[in-house]
Symmetry: D2
């Protein structure tokens, strides 16, 4: 098991002395930095920090650390959070019929490759139930047909609420979440789109790609906003295709990219490496 | 020096016996195949072939080969051409002020890495003249300001004509060719666009990319049609960027992708590996 | 379901008229080519072909096709085989404790992404039994400790024999097969090695990689010969690492490359795209 | 032109309060951090920092900054240096007959894509003289035949000394520098090796790669030590090859990787992003 750490994530207006103030505070408390990332956006003059502190270097727990840090945070107008690696994030997975992203995340979960809890899987179909069952994870089936969408989304929202989710992952969920849910969980809903955005927004991107004759196809992991496929991008990647590839080939090759990009994006989010800044992200890798 | 070859490029409706007919013809003439590529497009039932024949395996020259092949070509309704590797293609290069693509192609030319002739370089600026001069290649400067575009394009067209160009490469030329020139040299004008098309069509794609917050930027080599940035794609590639990259960084990283993608696309075109099929390409690599 | 095809795989000394002879034979039988790949190795003057024939274009079955093709094969001294896409290959999977490659292949199997049968999984540990059980696939546990290796390999050989395996995949099996088994199943045993061979042969390649300070790590899918990690390479790939990556990070990142490379290599093998030529492979992609 | 910055590069044993001490010092002087990178090596408990300070945020010049920082550096047993972006590094280029790496670096130099001075080019051949001449850069030809190697290296050493070189780049120089020169310029000599090290050490790596049948070839940029091809690696990359690629194809494709990898490695070195740690490097990108 990895040693316990606290992660202190900060964004605020830049000022001379900012790094000094934060690192001096941490040093005065005895905190040992095991990782530290800084970024200054010259356009907005905004500053972003991620500091990882060895828990056993401090004589007290995370709540007291928060309390002691608070005055400094206020002084510098920081948006900030402190997370504890001993408290894994709770990730609700939404899926439809396709198994590739869900299977991949379940593998990473059960092999302890990525640290998170899964309160439940929600799907508008029953196809993946048996596989999820084997993992001893709750599976909720709530249909999403044309005539019961409102009910579907109400159920989804209730299930998310009840599970105390920190993160909601749309693992090829194929439904468009209503704006209220997007707003309520802003910065917490992660989607995988099966194209290299902003190319091929919307439905059937592989068909669009085949039509256009591109030589690479891709996938995009992004935060969900009410603006379809337009939220802040966390991670992207591509794979080479050729004239030999039919649409089923694109779908197949694309699946490998989708699951890889989603897993990388989610990992970075779970490790508090992704900071939102307007419609963009800072990703401290 | 590479041994002399003929390349027989064919596209036509598919039929049982097509490969047999062509290869039997070549075998009966004594032709040794050193490379052979075939592709059947199942949607259109169209067939594409590229065959490379060792010149010294035939007792006669390319003109007679063409004549002898003609009846077969007619019988199968082929679009076809035969090229001779001893006759390098004539490539006119159009550029503006930026040197990266032009320099890269001139390096590949002078080091014999790619086999082609350069009748001349045409530019709307004088910046690159001295460098082109060093290569003993003709440099034509014809300004392209708002008030003399018509004259500019007339000059360009005349220079292309006079140089007996087989290929026209827009090596970051930055001007939009009039539709008449696009039509006249259909399938012969190759452009490099500084984005992963169809994302970021038009002007300032790196600014668009920065604005959208993508995690990869790219470049696209395509045939020019009168429809801006929408012609058949020959080659594409991407490079990873991060929040650290300012727009000048994108421009710098992008230049490396642009020149690589253009060189690969042009090489494939020069080796008759690219066959157009509607708005798509078959690239026999 | 994909339409039924026959794949005719040939390697033989090159001669003028070879493609003509084969394609004329196929045409005379009415065979429609849906794919055709040819490669001539100029050094050895050896020729390699892969032709895919639509089954419904022939008035008879694969056995008669073989019989009819035989005389031509003899005339040209061909090594050849004809496979039928309706007869999936039987793939025995050998694993140890690590799940990533096995899980990945089982996903591709159960989602019909790759067409093959799995007669059984063999392991020297019991860790993966429950997961394999869920798939309704036989799981054989045969320990491989220092004092019972001979027995272990005898059991493995018997199980392979009894299962009529066409392919044996070492999905991170971690044992070195005895030379007799390697010889008996020459060209049929596929291994995934967790380095970019020939770098870091043998044990603990990720430790070796960390020690050397490389900036990329990789994986290699190859046929097994009695010469450790030296068999013909089918597929390789790499992933970027940095000074931030500890050995556990290398292991984790490496797993993703290992499973991808193994899946690509196996897919090409299953589709009869891989032809051995001495210690190298021709891979018709 | 980029704004003037100072870069403060530090490595030392780790201690709680290290970042605080350095950043507090810089803040107390008024220094604005525009970039900051930190890395703690958990195995050796060593700490590495790179801080970029806006020159105009300080009321004095780099010499005074060094003087004021000195006591802190001593207190923490730091190895450190301060560089000034207004003082470009002096890079001596050594080449042989091949032009690809040299041409690429000269392009990046003349287009201001990378900031450095070139006091001279040294070669054991005259082939590249005219091209270097066009750039108005001194070209020294000193033959390196079997019977005058000692003289050759004496001349090379003298030329390097006379040119006050900060960096020596072996741009496909093809000669093995004597250990004395390697030791004298430790951490300052950068080589590009045409393989993915540690695979294919020594001569003719592309022939070795073809012999082994690998599916990727690569290039490695590393610091030169007296141990051939074994110095700390700065950057590596690979490119995909196939059975179609002959050795000349490998050489051609390899050239593109070589020049890209060398340029990236050199850029990182010039920007003081590369810190040596034993036989490894930390590269702050």
């Amino acid at each position: 098991m990895s040693p316990q750490n606290y992660r202190l994530i900060i964004s605020c207006p830049d000022r001379v002395g900012l790094v000094a103030a934060v690192s001096s505070f941490l040093a005065s408390e005895g905190g040992l930095l095991t990782e530290a990332n800084y970024f200054r956006d010259p356009e907005s003059n905004w500053f972003f920090m991620r500091q990882v502190i060895a828990a056993d270097s401090l004589p007290y727990g995370p709540e007291e650390l928060k309390q002691r840090f608070s005055p400094l945070a206020e002084q510098f107008n920081m948006e900030w959070q402190l997370t504890d690696t001993n408290v894994p994030k709770r990730v609700v997975l939404l899926a439809s019929k396709q198994a590739h992203c869900l299977s991949d995340l379940l593998y990473r979960w059960r092999s302890d490759e990525m640290a998170f809890d899964i309160p439940c899987v929600i799907s508008n179909h029953n196809d993946l139930r048996s596989y999820v069952d084997w993992h001893n994870i709750d599976y909720h089936h709530t249909p999403a047909d044309a005539d019961n969408k409102t009910e579907h989304f109400a159920t989804v929202e209730k299930l998310i609420e009840d599970s105390n989710a920190d993160v909601i992952v749309l693992a090829r969920y194929m439904q468009i979440l209503p704006p209220e849910i997007c707003a309520k969980y802003s910065g917490k809903i992660i989607n995988i789109h099966h194209s290299f955005l902003p190319a091929f927004v919307g439905a059937k991107p592989y068909h669009q790609a085949a039509e256009r004759g591109v030589k690479l196809i891709g996938a995009t992991c992004h935060y969900v906003t009410s603006d379809l496929d337009a939220g802040p991008i966390i991670e992207q990647d591509v794979v080479r295709i050729s004239h030999h590839d039919s649409i089923p080939d694109l779908v197949r090759k694309g699946k490998d990219v989708e699951k890889t990009v989603l897993a990388r994006g989610l990992r970075n989010h779970l490790e508090d490496r992704v900071l939102m800044h307007g419609n963009k992200t800072i990703v401290f890798e």
